[in-house]
Symmetry: C2
Subunit: 190 residues, 2 copies
DNA sequence: CATGTCTATGTCAGAAACTGACATCACTAT
DNA sequence: ATAGTGATGTCAGTTTCTGACATAGACATG
């Protein structure tokens, strides 16, 4: 038993999610989030570096990054980098499958606010950096690794957006494969 | 004669650039920028939506976006999309050539502060959207256009970073072509 | 059992980023 | 002349975020 209700951080995340959904990010103050979670505003800022960060908890983002990097690092050495990366993207995408409604709500919140889109972009940038390191460890040159990593993340974002918008319930890994195939077609040139 | 010194906006941009260079973005207040420019803090916020925006004036960003889009739209219809895009990227990159020192200083400021990197990413995202529209007007499917546009911007960013870091004074268009060639190699698969 | 340390939180004051409402004053058109 | 326009100043207020210090339960140690 602690002095306070357990999992203050989780309560803050849920309160923020609800309030952002109801009235939008801009029309929600940190004080309101804290109040709904039953803590102080100051406590909010001890858990999250800033107001946006509450939507990007490390459990989610870091975990996915590890899946991505792990799958790429573990892919058979004979695989071309781009195909090792494909395996990584599918691995990172798989966990979403069961949380589609939630993912959609979250995407809606983020899409509605430029500030949040900025944050999302830089989070994906971190994935790209991690992926780049991993690819270099697979023997790729720094230049090729950077390019591959950036393009891979672009493919992930596009596949994710398609998955969110998709009305036919196609599964995420499949959309990754399709996007990647389209990438190969598009870059093949004339 | 107006009541005030001319070009308050430009003075604010220059003052901000200097101060950010000298002491960094975080250690500079808007009040200080305004003071150096000889205006009020309130005036700053009438010219720029927020403190970061002063580093991303529309004259720069929008102009380049028009070069990019214009070159792609004007590229010969027989060109493959990816090659039309290559022409656009070179066109957008060309103006930098003569302002390399300035570009480098600016890049240093941005690289030093996550908040500014976020803003830069979203600005490039706008380029991507504009490019996507243009590609669709060239007859590309929405899906292929999005993919091509995102990848193109990734190539631009990478080429730009290489150009900034480059010690051999290679020119920007050339770096674009090299990066694009590398992209084709990397996506070709095994 | 007493005592001390650790950790998560509360309290408070304050800086800095931003916003809305209203005033001012040169310039411009009628 | 007079009225209107546009860029700025003034000022009060909200919101985000930070630093310093206090508090209370959990836990270990003697």
């Amino acid at each position: 038993m602690t002095r306070w209700e357990a999992d203050g951080r989780g309560r803050l995340e849920r309160a923020a999610f609800e309030l952002f959904s109801e009235r939008g990010f801009d029309n929600t103050t940190v004080a309101e989030i804290a109040q709904r979670a039953g803590v102080t505003e100051r406590t909010f800022f001890r858990h999250f570096a800033d107001k946006r960060e509450v939507l990007f908890p490390p459990e989610g983002s870091l975990h996915l990054q590890e899946l991505l990097v792990g799958a790429v690092a573990g892919a058979h050495a004979s695989l071309a980098p781009i195909d090792a990366v494909a395996a990584g993207l599918e691995a990172a995408g798989a966990p979403f499958q069961e949380h589609r409604d939630n993912a959609r709500r979250r995407a809606a919140i983020i899409a509605a606010t430029p500030e949040l889109r900025e944050r999302e972009l830089i989070k994906l940038g971190a994935w790209s950096t991690a992926l780049c390191d991993t690819l270099q460890r697979r023997g790729l040159s720094a230049a090729a690794a950077r390019l591959t990593a950036e393009v891979a993340i672009a493919v992930f974002r596009i596949a994710f957006d398609r998955w969110i918008e998709d009305t036919n319930d196609r599964d995420f890994p499949q959309l990754i494969r399709e996007s990647l195939a389209q990438l190969k077609a598009v870059t093949a040139g004339a």
